[in-house]
Protein backbone atom coordinates (compact mmCIF):
# COMPACT_ATOMS: atom_id res chain seq x y z
CA UNK A 1 0.00 0.00 0.00
CA UNK A 2 1.64 3.16 -1.16
CA UNK A 3 1.05 6.78 -0.33
CA UNK A 4 -1.21 7.32 -3.33
CA UNK A 5 -3.57 4.54 -2.23
CA UNK A 6 -3.69 5.91 1.30
CA UNK A 7 -4.61 9.32 -0.06
CA UNK A 8 -7.32 7.82 -2.25
CA UNK A 9 -8.72 5.82 0.67
CA UNK A 10 -8.82 8.83 2.98
CA UNK A 11 -10.51 10.96 0.35
CA UNK A 12 -12.82 8.04 -0.46
CA UNK A 13 -13.78 7.56 3.16
CA UNK A 14 -14.94 11.15 3.47
CA UNK A 15 -17.00 10.92 0.30
CA UNK A 16 -18.49 7.54 1.16
CA UNK A 17 -19.43 8.68 4.67
CA UNK A 18 -20.97 11.87 3.32
CA UNK A 19 -23.02 9.93 0.77
CA UNK A 20 -24.10 7.47 3.45
CA UNK A 21 -25.32 10.27 5.71
CA UNK A 22 -26.99 12.19 2.90
CA UNK A 23 -28.49 9.28 0.99
CA UNK A 24 -28.05 5.70 2.22
CA UNK A 25 -29.19 6.28 5.81
CA UNK A 26 -32.18 8.50 4.90
CA UNK A 27 -33.21 6.05 2.18
CA UNK A 28 -33.00 3.16 4.66
CA UNK A 29 -34.76 4.95 7.51
CA UNK A 30 -37.56 6.58 5.49
CA UNK A 31 -37.99 3.49 3.34
CA UNK A 32 -38.20 1.14 6.28
CA UNK A 33 -40.52 3.39 8.27
CA UNK A 34 -42.94 3.51 5.31
CA UNK A 35 -42.50 -0.24 4.79
CA UNK A 36 -43.39 -0.84 8.43
CA UNK A 37 -46.60 1.18 8.18
CA UNK A 38 -47.55 -0.57 4.93
CA UNK A 39 -46.77 -3.94 6.53
CA UNK A 40 -48.93 -3.20 9.58
CA UNK A 41 -51.90 -2.24 7.43
CA UNK A 42 -51.48 -5.16 5.02
CA UNK A 43 -51.06 -7.66 7.85
CA UNK A 44 -54.05 -6.30 9.78
CA UNK A 45 -56.48 -6.37 6.85
CA UNK A 46 -55.50 -9.97 6.22
CA UNK A 47 -55.61 -11.00 9.86
CA UNK A 48 -58.96 -9.30 10.42
CA UNK A 49 -60.19 -10.70 7.07
CA UNK A 50 -61.46 -7.37 5.77
CA UNK A 51 -63.19 -8.21 2.48
CA UNK A 52 -61.71 -6.73 -0.74
CA UNK A 53 -58.81 -5.01 1.11
CA UNK A 54 -57.60 -8.46 2.04
CA UNK A 55 -57.51 -9.55 -1.60
CA UNK A 56 -55.76 -6.31 -2.53
CA UNK A 57 -53.14 -7.02 0.14
CA UNK A 58 -52.58 -10.55 -1.20
CA UNK A 59 -52.21 -9.23 -4.73
CA UNK A 60 -49.74 -6.52 -3.70
CA UNK A 61 -47.61 -8.98 -1.73
CA UNK A 62 -47.69 -11.47 -4.59
CA UNK A 63 -46.42 -8.87 -7.07
CA UNK A 64 -43.69 -7.34 -4.92
CA UNK A 65 -42.32 -10.57 -3.53
CA UNK A 66 -42.49 -12.30 -6.88
CA UNK A 67 -40.39 -9.87 -8.90
CA UNK A 68 -36.77 -8.74 -8.47
CA UNK A 69 -36.10 -5.51 -6.62
CA UNK A 70 -33.74 -4.31 -9.35
CA UNK A 71 -36.44 -4.82 -11.99
CA UNK A 72 -38.93 -2.90 -9.82
CA UNK A 73 -36.45 -0.02 -9.55
CA UNK A 74 -35.86 0.07 -13.31
CA UNK A 75 -39.55 -0.17 -14.06
CA UNK A 76 -40.36 2.73 -11.73
CA UNK A 77 -37.49 4.96 -12.81
CA UNK A 78 -37.06 4.21 -16.51
CA UNK A 79 -40.44 2.67 -17.32
CA UNK A 80 -43.05 4.88 -15.67
CA UNK A 81 -41.98 8.08 -17.52
CA UNK A 82 -43.43 6.40 -20.63
CA UNK A 83 -46.79 6.64 -18.86
CA UNK A 84 -46.11 10.26 -18.01
CA UNK A 85 -45.11 9.49 -14.40
CA UNK A 86 -41.70 11.07 -13.89
CA UNK A 87 -40.05 10.73 -10.50
CA UNK A 88 -36.73 12.01 -9.21
CA UNK A 89 -34.30 9.22 -8.46
CA UNK A 90 -34.34 9.53 -4.65
CA UNK A 91 -38.12 9.64 -4.10
CA UNK A 92 -38.47 6.91 -6.70
CA UNK A 93 -36.05 4.73 -4.74
CA UNK A 94 -37.87 5.50 -1.46
CA UNK A 95 -41.19 4.42 -2.97
CA UNK A 96 -39.86 1.22 -4.49
CA UNK A 97 -37.95 0.21 -1.36
CA UNK A 98 -40.99 0.96 0.83
CA UNK A 99 -43.28 -1.13 -1.31
CA UNK A 100 -40.83 -3.98 -1.75
CA UNK A 101 -39.83 -4.14 1.91
CA UNK A 102 -43.44 -3.60 2.96
CA UNK A 103 -44.48 -6.77 1.17
CA UNK A 104 -41.91 -8.87 3.03
CA UNK A 105 -42.58 -7.25 6.40
CA UNK A 106 -46.34 -7.70 5.91
CA UNK A 107 -45.81 -11.45 5.82
CA UNK A 108 -43.64 -11.28 8.93
CA UNK A 109 -46.30 -9.26 10.76
CA UNK A 110 -49.12 -11.50 9.60
CA UNK A 111 -47.49 -14.66 10.89
CA UNK A 112 -46.61 -12.88 14.15
CA UNK A 113 -50.27 -11.92 14.59
CA UNK A 114 -51.37 -15.45 13.83
CA UNK A 115 -48.97 -16.77 16.46
CA UNK A 116 -50.83 -14.92 19.24
CA UNK A 117 -53.07 -17.51 20.91
CA UNK A 118 -56.83 -17.21 20.37
CA UNK A 119 -57.24 -17.31 24.16
CA UNK A 120 -55.86 -13.78 24.39
CA UNK A 121 -58.85 -12.54 22.40
CA UNK A 122 -61.29 -14.60 24.42
CA UNK A 123 -59.91 -13.28 27.70
CA UNK A 124 -60.12 -9.75 26.31
CA UNK A 125 -63.75 -10.17 25.31
CA UNK A 126 -64.55 -11.61 28.73
CA UNK A 127 -63.22 -8.53 30.54
CA UNK A 128 -65.43 -6.41 28.28
CA UNK A 129 -63.01 -5.12 25.66
CA UNK A 130 -63.95 -4.93 21.98
CA UNK A 131 -61.95 -6.20 19.01
CA UNK A 132 -59.94 -3.03 18.43
CA UNK A 133 -59.18 -2.55 22.11
CA UNK A 134 -57.89 -6.11 22.39
CA UNK A 135 -55.92 -5.67 19.18
CA UNK A 136 -54.28 -2.48 20.37
CA UNK A 137 -53.58 -3.38 24.01
CA UNK A 138 -52.94 -7.10 23.84
CA UNK A 139 -52.50 -8.75 20.46
CA UNK A 140 -50.50 -6.19 18.49
CA UNK A 141 -47.91 -5.62 21.24
CA UNK A 142 -47.33 -9.37 21.45
CA UNK A 143 -47.11 -9.69 17.68
CA UNK A 144 -44.61 -6.82 17.50
CA UNK A 145 -42.48 -8.53 20.08
CA UNK A 146 -42.51 -11.74 18.05
CA UNK A 147 -41.84 -9.87 14.82
CA UNK A 148 -39.01 -7.76 16.23
CA UNK A 149 -36.07 -10.07 15.39
CA UNK A 150 -37.17 -10.85 11.81
CA UNK A 151 -38.04 -7.18 11.22
CA UNK A 152 -34.60 -6.15 12.44
CA UNK A 153 -33.05 -8.62 10.05
CA UNK A 154 -35.12 -7.15 7.23
CA UNK A 155 -33.91 -3.67 8.14
CA UNK A 156 -30.28 -4.78 8.01
CA UNK A 157 -30.86 -6.54 4.69
CA UNK A 158 -32.52 -3.44 3.33
CA UNK A 159 -29.60 -1.23 4.34
CA UNK A 160 -27.37 -3.35 2.13
CA UNK A 161 -29.92 -3.56 -0.68
CA UNK A 162 -30.04 0.23 -0.98
CA UNK A 163 -26.79 -0.13 -2.94
CA UNK A 164 -29.04 -1.16 -5.86
CA UNK A 165 -30.40 2.39 -5.92
CA UNK A 166 -27.12 3.46 -7.51
CA UNK A 167 -28.40 1.68 -10.64
CA UNK A 168 -31.10 4.33 -11.01
CA UNK A 169 -28.64 7.22 -10.50
CA UNK A 170 -29.22 7.69 -6.78
CA UNK A 171 -25.96 9.11 -5.40
CA UNK A 172 -25.65 6.74 -2.48
CA UNK A 173 -22.42 5.53 -0.90
CA UNK A 174 -21.95 2.76 -3.42
CA UNK A 175 -22.29 5.24 -6.29
CA UNK A 176 -19.72 7.52 -4.65
CA UNK A 177 -17.30 4.59 -4.44
CA UNK A 178 -17.98 3.73 -8.09
CA UNK A 179 -17.20 7.30 -9.13
CA UNK A 180 -13.85 7.28 -7.37
CA UNK A 181 -13.02 3.92 -8.95
CA UNK A 182 -13.81 5.42 -12.34
CA UNK A 183 -11.26 8.11 -11.69
CA UNK A 184 -8.52 6.13 -9.94
CA UNK A 185 -8.87 2.55 -11.28
CA UNK A 186 -8.54 1.11 -7.78
CA UNK A 187 -11.60 -1.15 -7.57
CA UNK A 188 -10.06 -3.55 -5.07
CA UNK A 189 -9.28 -0.87 -2.49
CA UNK A 190 -12.38 1.25 -2.88
CA UNK A 191 -14.95 -1.53 -3.05
CA UNK A 192 -13.30 -3.02 0.04
CA UNK A 193 -13.60 0.34 1.72
CA UNK A 194 -17.28 0.77 0.89
CA UNK A 195 -17.91 -2.83 2.00
CA UNK A 196 -16.35 -1.98 5.36
CA UNK A 197 -18.61 1.04 5.75
CA UNK A 198 -21.68 -1.15 5.07
CA UNK A 199 -20.31 -3.63 7.57
CA UNK A 200 -19.91 -0.87 10.15
CA UNK A 201 -23.52 0.27 9.74
CA UNK A 202 -24.98 -3.21 9.85
CA UNK A 203 -22.91 -3.99 12.94
CA UNK A 204 -24.31 -0.89 14.65
CA UNK A 205 -27.84 -2.02 13.77
CA UNK A 206 -27.14 -5.51 15.06
CA UNK A 207 -25.92 -4.13 18.38
CA UNK A 208 -29.01 -1.90 18.69
CA UNK A 209 -31.17 -4.93 17.89
CA UNK A 210 -29.55 -6.94 20.68
CA UNK A 211 -30.04 -4.18 23.22
CA UNK A 212 -33.69 -3.74 22.27
CA UNK A 213 -34.34 -7.47 22.39
CA UNK A 214 -32.97 -7.61 25.89
CA UNK A 215 -35.26 -4.76 26.93
CA UNK A 216 -38.24 -6.45 25.29
CA UNK A 217 -37.57 -9.87 26.74
CA UNK A 218 -39.13 -9.24 30.15
CA UNK A 219 -42.45 -10.90 29.39
CA UNK A 220 -41.21 -13.94 27.61
CA UNK A 221 -38.37 -15.05 29.76
CA UNK A 222 -38.32 -16.15 33.35
CA UNK A 223 -34.85 -14.71 33.75
CA UNK A 224 -35.90 -11.37 35.19
CA UNK A 225 -38.02 -12.96 37.88
CA UNK A 226 -35.22 -15.24 38.89
CA UNK A 227 -32.92 -12.23 39.11
CA UNK A 228 -35.47 -10.26 41.11
CA UNK A 229 -35.94 -13.13 43.48
CA UNK A 230 -32.22 -13.55 43.92
CA UNK A 231 -31.91 -9.88 44.84
CA UNK A 232 -34.81 -9.99 47.29
Amino acid sequence: MNERIIKILIEGFGKIMLASIKVTIPLTVIGFACAFVIALVMAMVQYTKVPVLRQIARFYIWIFRGTPLLVQLFLAYYGLPKLGIVLDAFPCAVIVFSLNEGAYCAETMRSALEAVPEGQFEAGYCVGMNYLQIMFHVVLPQALRTAFPPLSNSLIAMLKDTSLAAEITVADMFMSAQKIVGRTYEPLWLYSEVALVYLMYSTILTVIQRICEKKLSSYNSRETSVKKEAKA
Partner: protein, 250 residues
Protein backbone atom coordinates in the same frame (compact mmCIF):
# COMPACT_ATOMS: atom_id res chain seq x y z
CA UNK B 1 -87.16 -14.00 40.46
CA UNK B 2 -84.06 -15.92 39.48
CA UNK B 3 -80.93 -14.05 38.56
CA UNK B 4 -80.33 -16.17 35.47
CA UNK B 5 -82.72 -18.51 33.74
CA UNK B 6 -81.36 -20.47 30.80
CA UNK B 7 -83.68 -22.53 28.60
CA UNK B 8 -83.13 -25.09 25.90
CA UNK B 9 -79.58 -24.24 24.76
CA UNK B 10 -78.64 -26.19 21.64
CA UNK B 11 -75.37 -26.28 19.76
CA UNK B 12 -74.17 -28.31 16.80
CA UNK B 13 -70.57 -28.63 15.65
CA UNK B 14 -70.22 -29.84 12.07
CA UNK B 15 -73.31 -32.04 12.12
CA UNK B 16 -72.94 -33.43 15.66
CA UNK B 17 -75.27 -32.03 18.25
CA UNK B 18 -73.12 -31.27 21.28
CA UNK B 19 -75.77 -29.52 23.41
CA UNK B 20 -79.23 -31.00 23.12
CA UNK B 21 -81.31 -28.55 25.11
CA UNK B 22 -79.67 -27.41 28.35
CA UNK B 23 -81.75 -25.71 31.08
CA UNK B 24 -80.29 -24.03 34.13
CA UNK B 25 -81.60 -21.69 36.79
CA UNK B 26 -79.22 -19.69 38.94
CA UNK B 27 -80.19 -17.70 42.02
CA UNK B 28 -78.07 -14.91 43.41
CA UNK B 29 -75.37 -16.41 45.63
CA UNK B 30 -75.60 -19.87 44.09
CA UNK B 31 -72.46 -21.88 43.52
CA UNK B 32 -73.40 -24.33 40.78
CA UNK B 33 -70.96 -27.14 40.02
CA UNK B 34 -71.31 -28.49 36.50
CA UNK B 35 -70.23 -32.12 36.47
CA UNK B 36 -70.11 -34.77 33.82
CA UNK B 37 -67.78 -36.97 31.82
CA UNK B 38 -65.32 -35.40 29.45
CA UNK B 39 -66.89 -34.56 26.09
CA UNK B 40 -70.37 -34.14 27.58
CA UNK B 41 -70.55 -30.49 26.51
CA UNK B 42 -69.75 -28.62 29.74
CA UNK B 43 -67.21 -26.26 28.21
CA UNK B 44 -69.38 -25.65 25.17
CA UNK B 45 -72.30 -24.76 27.41
CA UNK B 46 -70.27 -22.19 29.38
CA UNK B 47 -68.87 -20.74 26.17
CA UNK B 48 -72.34 -20.46 24.64
CA UNK B 49 -73.76 -18.51 27.57
CA UNK B 50 -70.80 -16.13 27.48
CA UNK B 51 -70.92 -15.86 23.65
CA UNK B 52 -67.44 -17.22 23.01
CA UNK B 53 -69.45 -19.70 20.98
CA UNK B 54 -72.73 -18.92 19.26
CA UNK B 55 -75.56 -21.19 20.36
CA UNK B 56 -77.94 -22.41 17.66
CA UNK B 57 -80.94 -21.74 19.85
CA UNK B 58 -81.97 -21.15 23.45
CA UNK B 59 -82.93 -18.24 25.65
CA UNK B 60 -81.32 -16.60 28.61
CA UNK B 61 -83.09 -14.37 31.07
CA UNK B 62 -80.59 -12.26 32.97
CA UNK B 63 -81.80 -9.72 35.54
CA UNK B 64 -85.28 -9.84 34.05
CA UNK B 65 -84.18 -9.29 30.43
CA UNK B 66 -84.72 -12.19 28.06
CA UNK B 67 -82.29 -12.76 25.19
CA UNK B 68 -82.52 -15.14 22.25
CA UNK B 69 -79.13 -16.87 22.23
CA UNK B 70 -79.50 -17.87 18.59
CA UNK B 71 -80.00 -14.29 17.42
CA UNK B 72 -78.28 -12.10 19.95
CA UNK B 73 -77.23 -8.56 19.09
CA UNK B 74 -73.70 -7.24 19.60
CA UNK B 75 -75.00 -4.61 21.94
CA UNK B 76 -76.63 -7.23 24.17
CA UNK B 77 -73.50 -9.37 24.19
CA UNK B 78 -71.48 -6.39 25.36
CA UNK B 79 -74.08 -5.55 28.03
CA UNK B 80 -74.17 -9.12 29.38
CA UNK B 81 -70.39 -9.47 29.35
CA UNK B 82 -70.10 -6.36 31.53
CA UNK B 83 -72.02 -8.30 34.19
CA UNK B 84 -70.10 -11.57 33.90
CA UNK B 85 -66.53 -12.81 34.11
CA UNK B 86 -64.79 -15.94 32.90
CA UNK B 87 -61.94 -17.98 34.33
CA UNK B 88 -60.31 -20.29 31.80
CA UNK B 89 -58.79 -23.69 32.23
CA UNK B 90 -55.46 -22.44 30.88
CA UNK B 91 -55.67 -19.00 32.60
CA UNK B 92 -55.31 -16.90 29.42
CA UNK B 93 -53.60 -14.05 31.19
CA UNK B 94 -52.50 -11.24 28.85
CA UNK B 95 -48.91 -12.28 28.20
CA UNK B 96 -47.63 -8.74 27.62
CA UNK B 97 -49.09 -7.35 30.84
CA UNK B 98 -47.96 -7.70 34.44
CA UNK B 99 -50.24 -9.29 37.03
CA UNK B 100 -51.51 -5.87 38.11
CA UNK B 101 -51.99 -4.68 34.52
CA UNK B 102 -53.94 -7.86 33.78
CA UNK B 103 -56.34 -7.01 36.56
CA UNK B 104 -56.58 -3.32 35.58
CA UNK B 105 -57.07 -3.64 31.84
CA UNK B 106 -60.79 -4.42 31.82
CA UNK B 107 -61.41 -1.45 34.11
CA UNK B 108 -59.21 1.04 32.31
CA UNK B 109 -59.91 0.13 28.71
CA UNK B 110 -63.40 -1.33 28.70
CA UNK B 111 -64.91 0.77 31.47
CA UNK B 112 -62.76 3.91 31.31
CA UNK B 113 -61.95 3.84 35.01
CA UNK B 114 -59.16 6.36 35.73
CA UNK B 115 -55.73 4.81 36.14
CA UNK B 116 -55.26 5.61 39.82
CA UNK B 117 -58.60 4.09 40.72
CA UNK B 118 -58.04 1.04 38.53
CA UNK B 119 -54.71 0.58 40.23
CA UNK B 120 -56.30 0.74 43.65
CA UNK B 121 -58.95 -1.82 42.71
CA UNK B 122 -56.28 -3.97 41.01
CA UNK B 123 -54.09 -4.06 44.11
CA UNK B 124 -57.07 -4.82 46.32
CA UNK B 125 -58.04 -7.77 44.11
CA UNK B 126 -54.48 -9.12 44.05
CA UNK B 127 -54.50 -8.78 47.83
CA UNK B 128 -57.68 -10.84 47.93
CA UNK B 129 -56.03 -13.72 46.07
CA UNK B 130 -52.85 -13.36 48.11
CA UNK B 131 -50.62 -12.06 45.31
CA UNK B 132 -50.03 -8.38 46.02
CA UNK B 133 -46.30 -9.13 46.20
CA UNK B 134 -46.40 -10.42 42.60
CA UNK B 135 -48.06 -7.34 41.09
CA UNK B 136 -45.13 -6.53 38.78
CA UNK B 137 -44.53 -10.07 37.55
CA UNK B 138 -45.40 -11.09 34.03
CA UNK B 139 -47.53 -14.24 33.64
CA UNK B 140 -44.58 -16.32 32.48
CA UNK B 141 -42.81 -15.47 35.72
CA UNK B 142 -45.65 -16.95 37.80
CA UNK B 143 -46.53 -20.55 38.65
CA UNK B 144 -49.73 -22.02 37.23
CA UNK B 145 -51.52 -21.63 40.55
CA UNK B 146 -50.44 -18.00 40.80
CA UNK B 147 -51.52 -17.33 37.21
CA UNK B 148 -54.95 -18.78 37.90
CA UNK B 149 -55.27 -16.65 41.04
CA UNK B 150 -54.38 -13.56 39.01
CA UNK B 151 -57.05 -14.65 36.52
CA UNK B 152 -59.55 -14.81 39.38
CA UNK B 153 -58.46 -11.35 40.56
CA UNK B 154 -58.96 -10.11 37.00
CA UNK B 155 -62.44 -11.64 36.98
CA UNK B 156 -63.29 -9.99 40.30
CA UNK B 157 -61.98 -6.55 39.34
CA UNK B 158 -64.92 -5.65 37.15
CA UNK B 159 -67.35 -6.49 39.95
CA UNK B 160 -69.35 -9.11 38.02
CA UNK B 161 -72.69 -10.50 39.11
CA UNK B 162 -71.56 -14.01 38.23
CA UNK B 163 -68.26 -15.70 37.43
CA UNK B 164 -67.98 -18.69 35.09
CA UNK B 165 -65.13 -21.11 35.77
CA UNK B 166 -64.15 -23.76 33.22
CA UNK B 167 -62.13 -26.43 35.01
CA UNK B 168 -60.00 -23.83 36.81
CA UNK B 169 -57.71 -26.40 38.41
CA UNK B 170 -57.42 -29.02 35.66
CA UNK B 171 -54.21 -27.63 34.17
CA UNK B 172 -52.49 -27.35 37.53
CA UNK B 173 -49.95 -29.59 39.20
CA UNK B 174 -51.64 -31.38 42.10
CA UNK B 175 -49.77 -29.41 44.75
CA UNK B 176 -51.03 -26.11 43.29
CA UNK B 177 -54.72 -27.02 43.14
CA UNK B 178 -55.35 -26.26 46.81
CA UNK B 179 -54.39 -22.58 46.65
CA UNK B 180 -56.84 -21.93 43.80
CA UNK B 181 -59.68 -23.88 45.41
CA UNK B 182 -59.09 -21.96 48.64
CA UNK B 183 -59.59 -18.66 46.82
CA UNK B 184 -62.76 -19.97 45.17
CA UNK B 185 -64.08 -21.21 48.49
CA UNK B 186 -63.50 -17.77 49.97
CA UNK B 187 -65.44 -16.18 47.09
CA UNK B 188 -68.30 -18.58 47.67
CA UNK B 189 -68.48 -17.69 51.32
CA UNK B 190 -68.39 -13.98 50.38
CA UNK B 191 -71.62 -14.68 48.47
CA UNK B 192 -70.28 -14.54 44.90
CA UNK B 193 -72.50 -16.26 42.35
CA UNK B 194 -70.45 -18.87 40.51
CA UNK B 195 -70.87 -21.45 37.80
CA UNK B 196 -68.03 -23.93 38.02
CA UNK B 197 -67.20 -26.77 35.65
CA UNK B 198 -65.03 -29.04 37.74
CA UNK B 199 -63.81 -32.53 38.46
CA UNK B 200 -63.05 -31.65 42.08
CA UNK B 201 -65.68 -33.66 43.91
CA UNK B 202 -64.81 -32.19 47.29
CA UNK B 203 -65.47 -28.72 45.95
CA UNK B 204 -68.74 -29.85 44.36
CA UNK B 205 -69.88 -31.58 47.51
CA UNK B 206 -68.76 -29.08 50.14
CA UNK B 207 -68.67 -25.66 48.48
CA UNK B 208 -71.32 -25.69 45.78
CA UNK B 209 -74.99 -25.74 46.72
CA UNK B 210 -76.28 -26.97 43.37
CA UNK B 211 -75.15 -29.53 40.83
CA UNK B 212 -75.81 -29.66 37.11
CA UNK B 213 -74.90 -33.09 35.88
CA UNK B 214 -74.41 -33.30 32.11
CA UNK B 215 -73.97 -36.31 29.92
CA UNK B 216 -73.78 -36.49 26.16
CA UNK B 217 -75.27 -33.04 25.65
CA UNK B 218 -78.19 -33.51 28.05
CA UNK B 219 -78.78 -32.43 31.62
CA UNK B 220 -79.28 -35.65 33.57
CA UNK B 221 -79.69 -34.07 37.00
CA UNK B 222 -80.18 -30.55 38.28
CA UNK B 223 -80.33 -30.87 42.04
CA UNK B 224 -79.04 -29.51 45.30
CA UNK B 225 -75.57 -30.79 45.97
CA UNK B 226 -76.74 -32.70 49.06
CA UNK B 227 -79.44 -34.48 47.11
CA UNK B 228 -77.10 -35.21 44.22
CA UNK B 229 -74.41 -36.87 46.28
CA UNK B 230 -76.62 -38.60 48.83
CA UNK B 231 -79.49 -39.58 46.66
CA UNK B 232 -78.66 -39.62 42.94
CA UNK B 233 -81.68 -40.45 40.79
CA UNK B 234 -80.21 -41.61 37.51
CA UNK B 235 -78.30 -44.83 37.00
CA UNK B 236 -75.77 -42.86 34.89
CA UNK B 237 -75.13 -40.51 37.82
CA UNK B 238 -74.50 -43.39 40.19
CA UNK B 239 -72.05 -44.86 37.72
CA UNK B 240 -70.27 -41.50 37.37
CA UNK B 241 -69.98 -41.14 41.13
CA UNK B 242 -68.73 -44.72 41.48
CA UNK B 243 -66.05 -44.09 38.82
CA UNK B 244 -64.95 -40.88 40.48
CA UNK B 245 -64.65 -42.45 43.92
CA UNK B 246 -62.83 -45.50 42.60
CA UNK B 247 -60.36 -43.12 40.89
CA UNK B 248 -59.81 -41.46 44.24
CA UNK B 249 -59.31 -44.73 46.04
CA UNK B 250 -56.84 -45.96 43.43
Amino acid sequence: MSMIDIRNVKKTFGGTEVLKGIDLTVEKGDVVAILGPSGSGKTTFLRCINFLEKADEGTMTFDGQTYDLGHIRHRDIAAIRKKTAFVFQNYNLFANKTALQNVMLGLQVARHVPKAEAQKIGMAMLEKVGLSDRADHYPIQLSGGQQQRVAIARALATNPEIIFFDEPTSALDPELIGEVLAVMKQLASDGMTMLVVTHEMNFARNVSNKILFMDNGYVLEHASSKEFFENPKEERTKEFLRNISSQHDA
